[in-house]
Symmetry: C2
Subunit: 335 residues, 2 copies
Amino acid sequence: MGGDYGPSVVVPAALRSLSRHPDLHLILVGDKTRLQEALASEQASENPRLTIHHASQQVMMDEEPGLALRNKKDSSMRVAINLVKEGEAQACVSAGNTGALVATARFVLKMIPGISRPAIIAALPSTTEACLSVRMLDLGGNVECTAEHLLQFALIGSTLTSAVEKIEAPSVALLNVGAESIKGNDLVKEAAPLLEAHPDINYVGFVEGDEIYSGNVRVIVCDGFVGNVALKTSEGVAKTLNYFMKRAFNRNLLTRLVAAIARPVLRSGLKSFDPKRYNGASLLGLNGIVIKSHGGADALAYSYAIEEALHEARSNIVKKITHKLTQLANESIAT
Amino acid sequence: MGGDYGPSVVVPAALRSLSRHPDLHLILVGDKTRLQEALASEQASENPRLTIHHASQQVMMDEEPGLALRNKKDSSMRVAINLVKEGEAQACVSAGNTGALVATARFVLKMIPGISRPAIIAALPSTTEACLSVRMLDLGGNVECTAEHLLQFALIGSTLTSAVEKIEAPSVALLNVGAESIKGNDLVKEAAPLLEAHPDINYVGFVEGDEIYSGNVRVIVCDGFVGNVALKTSEGVAKTLNYFMKRAFNRNLLTRLVAAIARPVLRSGLKSFDPKRYNGASLLGLNGIVIKSHGGADALAYSYAIEEALHEARSNIVKKITHKLTQLANESIAT
């Protein structure tokens, strides 16, 4: 029921993913009547792989997370996460209120021991053919971090990337203001030797902001404040460039004609950077898979978030991350 | 002599600025022979407003700042900053080694009392006609900041913006991960009430990364780590989008034809976002004006950096900032 469009986006996205993945089962959680209407308007036939699970409430996009948690015990979000907890679903996907989703997921699923708050990780586009996506974390879950947090992020980010992308020892870098080892704030300077020393992290050094999309590394680690600023700044730049291009194309009749000719080429080119294709951020560190779709996602974008959930469920990511973090906890006790 | 191109960029940039500003005087500092050759190759005639000041050394782009400071006492950078110190020049512009420029400027000019390291501020494009540029600081001078630093940045950033852009009480925002007051790390949460309470700061609240280029605010304040990441991420996104567009336009004969038609329109549109037009970051907090040009700037871009120096010199910015900071220091003693 969440996001800017609710069932009118979630239902066609679900139908798209079901047709693309013959072994996928989906449970639509929310107002039964509205979900049935949305299915009817998509002319969806009966599908044994698609069920509806009624939930009488919904969390509003601007609702205070604590209040949502206390007062909305039958919200679509809460019920969907309960299904993961009870093992009836292997993953939950939501385009709803991020704060409420994080709070509810923490409350219901609990964190893997050693992690205090979920780290948000997402795939980002890259200009390198051999490395079509880069994963970056934390994108806003933990705005105040220690070097140990960054070590955890490196470990769980590289575990996820390795499992989902099926590559051994993905390269991991710390986001910094310079590539030289003397550069940076205390946080990254303290974290660097921890990542360097850990046998399960293929640490390659510092990267600067302009290298995020270069594809030179697979996993980029930063604190949640910096990651959130970098991600949103990227969105802002893309929007700004789009605005300036549109304005130039709308200047007069001739430029509008040029636009009509150039638009298909530009669109196909910029598709590679389309945030839609990278929709679906994971809340890592929970005892279960929870994927956050962008609130403004359309059906295609939402279906990518569903597919991220599918990949993570298939690769048994929660168990792998739990194992890594237990190892890490034991190592720090041992030292 | 600095930057990726040395006199071959600086000399034509100087000639351009001289022809645009009839009351501008420029001193070219560096190897006399090379500067004369560069002037000759531009067919520059004798100009009473252009003089050459010989310097026998130059700081290399990858030279360690401390070594440059100790061993290169007759470098073009050092001599140019000396001229500012001695009052023979009102400002220094350099495309050279940033670390060495900051170290040399601090050593020669000294900081305004109350400031420990220069804050780097630059103008950025905006999509709002009424607010064509936004200024953001710190872009990397101070990677470890306290709330008091952010208060200083707000004060000096708004003093500069007010003086150069000739607007009273420019709006000032803190860069954060959300617009609500409960959002953020300890640093911005502590800084917000300080900015809010200060009578000389028109504080308007938090902005997120995607609002940097919106033109909703005039001055954006953040610590040097976050600012540097945001700026470089922006460069990275612009480069990435450019790469994807070029690739689409190069796909085949037809798309190359479309490119030939669309390129002039796109170029004119993206000109507004062209980093060249925003070249010239100021090192604020020094007892003198020092402008850092991008190392890769061409002559047009470099001339914008010269013009930033001119605007700042004309608006008597050092005196204004010194005044504000002395006030601030007295206030904190009084409280």
